[in-house]
């Protein structure tokens, strides 16, 4: 399938800093790519190059087959973009602002497009108030409405849920999921739960380079908690249970957390191999009563930290590979 959005070896230098250092990826229709990374990793800079706001130092971006530098007008026509911080013209109302955007895009049915975007982002109640006077959540939705106004093939959303309350986040995520089928969507975020909520793929970037690229599940499998088993037992069984669990094949390490009358003992699996079967069998043989058992699919925040914190990151990557 022809990718709708493609980054080819994008590089961006600012004065003495290389902010983005050879970032490549492509996004097919139907995919929602989560773009993760610590602050300052180069997420926004990459997005600014994808959308044609910044000129890359090297490399090229393509939207629906159009080079962003070579054929900017054709490329931008297929693009919806929510910039970082959802800027807008503060003295305009959502209605006048969206009308301006629709006109500038040369849409045939300006009023219809504005009406649909207002409805999709639930802006009806504030449609005639100056944007400056709106809450952060509404401002973000104005930015989103502007991005989806022309039903673009490619959506680049820089932190679309930043500053929203949990209900609003949920709404925005369902909106993104609903639109995903025929579009290529990139969202940048540092909220890891968002990746599970909407993304079909996650790319992690650190100091301008991609350090991981895969489905959320495959990234999670790189966590040291992948397939870890947490068993809750009575506090007085804790020592015995710990000894049994540490002895099971493929158990790398055992952690104990005491909480009142119960204890949670977590066995980490060696290289993420499944250990639940062997482990529960042995505990039952020894007659230790398990109050609760949970298998950890792996923790994205754990993977995120190992991949993006300095030197430790590169070691862990090699181990996982």
């Amino acid at each position: 399938m022809q990718p709708l959005l493609e980054a080819r070896a994008l590089v961006k230098d600012f004065a003495h800093i290389r902010a983005v250092d050879g970032v490549s990826f492509s996004v097919e229709p139907g995919a929602v790519m989560g773009f993760l990374g610590p602050n300052g990793a180069g997420k926004s800079t990459t997005m600014k190059m994808l959308t044609g706001f910044l000129r890359p130092t090297a490399g090229e971006a393509f939207i629906a087959g159009h080079s962003v530098e070579g054929a900017p007008i054709a490329a931008k026509r297929r693009l919806g973009y929510l910039p970082e911080g959802a800027p807008a013209y503060g003295d305009m109302t959502p209605l006048t602002f969206l009308t301006f955007t629709a006109r500038a895009r040369g849409l045939a049915d300006v009023a219809g497009a504005v009406r649909r975007a207002v409805a999709a982002t639930h802006l009806g109640s504030v449609a005639e108030q100056p944007i400056d006077t709106l809450s952060k959540g509404f401002k973000r939705r104005v930015g989103l409405a502007q991005a989806i106004l022309h039903d673009p093939d490619v959506l680049v959303l820089d932190e679309p849920t930043d500053g929203l309350d949990p209900n609003q986040k949920h709404e925005v995520r369902s909106l993104i999921r609903d639109m995903a089928a025929a579009k290529a969507i990139i969202i940048s975020t540092h909220i890891l739960e968002e990746v599970d909520a909407v993304c079909t793929r996650a790319v992690i970037i650190d100091r301008g380079r991609i350090v991981a690229d895969g489905t959320p599940a495959s990234l999670r499998a790189r966590s040291r908690y992948h397939n870890a088993v947490a068993v809750t037992v009575a506090a007085n069984d804790a020592a015995a249970a710990r000894a049994v669990m540490a002895d099971v094949d493929d158990v790398a390490e055992v952690e104990v957390a005491q909480s009142g009358a119960a204890a949670v003992i977590t066995a980490l699996a060696k290289d993420g191999r499944p250990i639940i079967g062997a482990l529960t069998g042995r505990l039952e043989d020894k007659g230790i009563k398990m109050m609760e058992i949970a298998v950890d699919p792996g923790r994205l925040d754990d993977v995120f930290r190992t991949l993006t914190t300095s030197e430790a990151g590169s070691d862990a990557t090699q181990e996982a590979a």
């Binding site: 961006k12 959308t51 910044l54 007008i73 807008a88 013209y89 301006f100 006109r103 500038a104 040369g106």
Partner: protein, 247 residues
């Protein structure tokens, strides 16, 4: 398509003057000062002549201060608020955005200038002026305002700070206004070749403006102002585009 984007930018920009008190403050100050200059400082009644010479002789100085205030926000504000990122990722060319913004500012100052029409009416009621000369004066004023605004628009794109944009524009506009006067020319004539001094003098807004407003519409004077606008707007496009390299 070029025109679609341009006209959308023009409409938005033009309306935005009236969305804030800026438009009204500007118009009130402009009209108050034209009144003061014409009637008190310019001695409209004392001169006993039916013309608008006092008004037109002060107009360049008024524009020197007021048009930079109209132009300063054109790009600096977009950069400050980040909305420039929206504007430049719309499917419109940088040229369309630059020209659309400039025309909005120009139309706005044009409206302010039209609101001085009561002066024209007054002088017609009091006497029998040469209306051709007055019309030429208005044309000269309008295209001179355009040249000032083009300078301001370009310099506004250099910074995110409107105050800096304003001060820079007043300085540059001042040099262009004054360049035909001894205060500037004496500085150069002591060391620069006569040809250079003449060249500098030929960039004077005042010289060209006075020529037209005396009723002599010379193509060279019109070309001068139109050329000024073209050059500064071209520079404006280059500045906006160069900023895409990141700064």
């Amino acid at each position: 398509m070029m025109f679609t984007g341009l006209s959308a930018v023009f409409r938005r920009e033009f309306m935005s003057y009236f969305a804030t008190p800026l438009a009204y403050v500007f118009i009130v100050i402009f009209l108050a000062f034209t009144g003061i200059f014409t009637f008190y400082v310019g001695g409209f009644f004392e001169r006993g002549q039916a013309d608008l010479a006092p008004f037109f002789s002060f107009l360049p100085w008024l524009y020197l201060i007021l048009t930079p205030a109209v132009a300063m926000r054109l790009w600096a504000e977009e950069r400050k608020s980040g909305s420039i990122e929206l504007l430049l990722t719309l499917p419109i060319s940088t040229t369309a955005a630059v020209v659309g913004k400039f025309l909005a500012a120009w139309a706005f100052t044009g409206i302010a200038l039209m609101l001085t029409a009561p002066l024209w009416i007054t002088v017609n009621m009091l006497g029998d002026p040469d209306n051709g000369v007055i019309a030429a004066g208005y044309v000269a004023g309008f295209i001179m305002a355009g040249a000032y605004l083009a300078i301001g628009a370009c310099l506004s794109a250099l910074t995110r700070n409107q105050v800096i944009a304003f001060v820079l524009t007043v300085m540059v506009a001042f040099l262009f206004t004054m360049s035909g006067l001894p205060v500037v020319l004496n500085f150069f004539s002591s060391w620069a070749p006569a040809l250079v001094v003449e060249e500098i003098a030929s960039f004077s807004f005042l010289t060209h403006f006075n020529a037209i407003s005396k009723g002599v519409i010379d193509l060279r004077d019109l070309v001068f102002f139109v050329g000024m606008m073209a050059v500064w707007l071209f520079a404006n496009v280059i500045v906006v585009d160069a900023k895409r390299d990141g700064a």
